[in-house]
């Protein structure tokens, strides 16, 4: 089988997953106890408004045709209208997706910047000071709520030493970048323990393997051994671990945005939850799931490009 064949097959796997995601998001409304429409409208509920909403969501139709209606709108880019702001959900999402994407990118960049040097240092100097640190700190780091870490960072670098803004997304490109540093660092700290650990393990495994012994026997330089044979072989597993973590990060942004008052998708989701704005919650959930699917797809493709064995089954 060829690489292209693998990629096509990987794309084909997306179909059932995506369908199932839409089904789950669609069914969310039916998990609401009682009549969803009146539950959503709360004190604003009047018989006319409830009936209107029922009609809009097709709640009085058979389930399958409800799903069909949902899908039909979805395919046409229609995620409904906010009950609270009376704006199309797609418009709201478009307004808010920027900070979230920037946070994701920044978090990934910081994670890589923290991971690669630390893991490489730990693996090449096994048992050394950095290695000990890399083994112990994650145990504590993982037990820490990410948002709490954010608060501590905020306290230190925005309140005590005011380098970065306390809240918001700033103005202009430099403002955006400055305001994204602390949130991105927060998520990087949350992820790095796992990525450092996995890259270190993978590198140690590679560096103690028989092919590295063989390579050293060739009398090529130690740097080439570490990079071409050690790092190169450790890369595919580390990339897949990073991918999984970016996927997690997509969800983590919800909380992090709240801490730093970033106007992203996560804070949109939370404010809609407080406002019981169901269509927005539904739409944002769908977008988040889509992001994760894309991240996973990218990871798999990247992995396949890095590892020649993937096409071979």
């Amino acid at each position: 089988m060829t690489k292209t064949g693998y990629l096509l097959r990987r794309l084909a796997y997306l179909v059932p997953t995506v369908v199932a995601i839409t089904v789950l998001v669609f069914f969310m409304i039916h998990l609401i106890p009682g009549n969803p429409a009146s539950a959503m409208l709360g004190p604003r509920a009047t018989p006319t408004r409830v009936a209107a909403l029922d009609r809009l969501w097709g709640l009085n139709r058979p389930l399958l045709s409800q799903y069909w209606l949902f899908m039909d709108r979805l395919v046409h880019g229609n995620l409904g209208t906010s009950l609270f702001l009376h704006i199309p959900v797609t418009t709201l999402i478009a307004q808010r997706i920027g900070p979230t994407l920037l946070l994701l990118t920044g978090g990934t960049v910081f994670t890589i910047l923290i991971t690669v040097p630390l893991a490489a240092a730990a693996a090449t100097h096994k048992g050394g000071a950095i290695d000990q640190l890399v083994r112990i700190v994650p145990l504590i780091g993982l037990s820490m709520p990410a948002f709490w870490m954010g608060i501590i960072l905020l306290l230190v670098f925005a309140v005590k030493v005011p380098i970065f803004p306390v809240a918001g997304f700033g103005v202009g490109v430099s403002g955006h970048l400055l305001s994204i540093v602390l949130p991105a660092l927060t998520v990087a700290f949350a992820i790095a323990p796992l990525t450092i650990r996995s890259l270190r393990t993978a590198m140690l495994e590679a560096l103690t393997s028989e092919y590295v012994v063989t390579a050293r026997g060739k009398r090529i330089s130690e740097a080439r051994v570490v990079v071409r044979h050690g790092m190169r072989n450790a890369l595919p597993p580390a990339v897949s671990v990073l991918g999984v973590n970016i996927g997690w990060l997509v969800g983590g942004t919800v909380v992090i945005e709240q801490v730093f008052s970033l106007p992203g998708l996560g804070s949109l989701m939370l404010s809609s939850i407080y406002n019981k704005d169901f269509p927005v919650v539904q739409g944002v959930t769908l977008v988040f799931a889509g992001l994760v699917v894309l991240v996973n797809l990218g990871t798999d493709i990247f992995f396949a490009l890095l590892d020649p064995r993937v096409t071979f089954e």
């Binding site: 083994r135 709520p145 997509v250 959930t285």
Partner: protein
Amino acid sequence: MNGGLKSDRRELVLDFGTTSGEQRRRFNRTLVAGVCVFGTMVVLSIFAPWVTNGAPIRQDLLNPLVGLSAAHPLGTDQLGRDIWARVVYGGRTDLHIACLAVLLPFILGTTLGCLAGYFGGWVDFVVMRLVEVVVAFPFYVLVIALVFVLGPGTRSIYIAITVVGWVSYARIVRGEVLVVKRQEYVLAARSGGLNRRRIIVRHVLPNVITQAIVFAMSDVVLDILVIVTLGYLGLGVPPPTPDWGQMISDGQAYITTNPSLSIIPGIAVMITGFGLSLIGDGLADVLRPE
């Protein structure tokens, strides 16, 4: 390509020192240290009424935000409530929910993973498709969305954690079962004419359950983090029941003047999680056969 390549972030915590054997000779110390740390938190929670003034929700509006004193070992919050009592009672709430919340996913995931792995075919197909769908959602997004539609409260937390959490157990156990079912002792049991139920219960399950138990230890940590996060977002245990997440959230307003309001409950979360992580590490070594 197999499903083993992609793995859940939650499962990654299993990689900690348990596979390499680096800490193997120190397993006793790790486990004992973990039990001591976590045990202290549990004992404090159980004996909360005796180790505190027993009034985590009693407001004393005349004495808000006071510092350390004999009456209030950690001071009071903005409503004059005793912080020490709130932290201990918060632990009581969160540990209670987390320990219970871990059971249902454990049972559900282990069962489904075991069946999927052992029988393969359509059972496996269905279970793995379900797993894939759940995994496609970002963890927190799905939990938050579920708590939203189900309405706040502990019942919703249990349901949300179960819906999201069983996946990890199912995948871990399924992976182990796929290995174990090809082991020759299972083949020998089949050849010996034992029925499937007996083989699964006696020959497969005891050899795969250890990984699930070890993961459950890390999962309690993750569940505590979920509960605290939900509390922080105001979607957790409804007030006035004390909860660490809500305490951090309430304290954030006073971050410039009284940072300890947010810091103390966070440290409590960290100590608990650290203890559980140590237990998980130690258990992984103890339970490993050989």
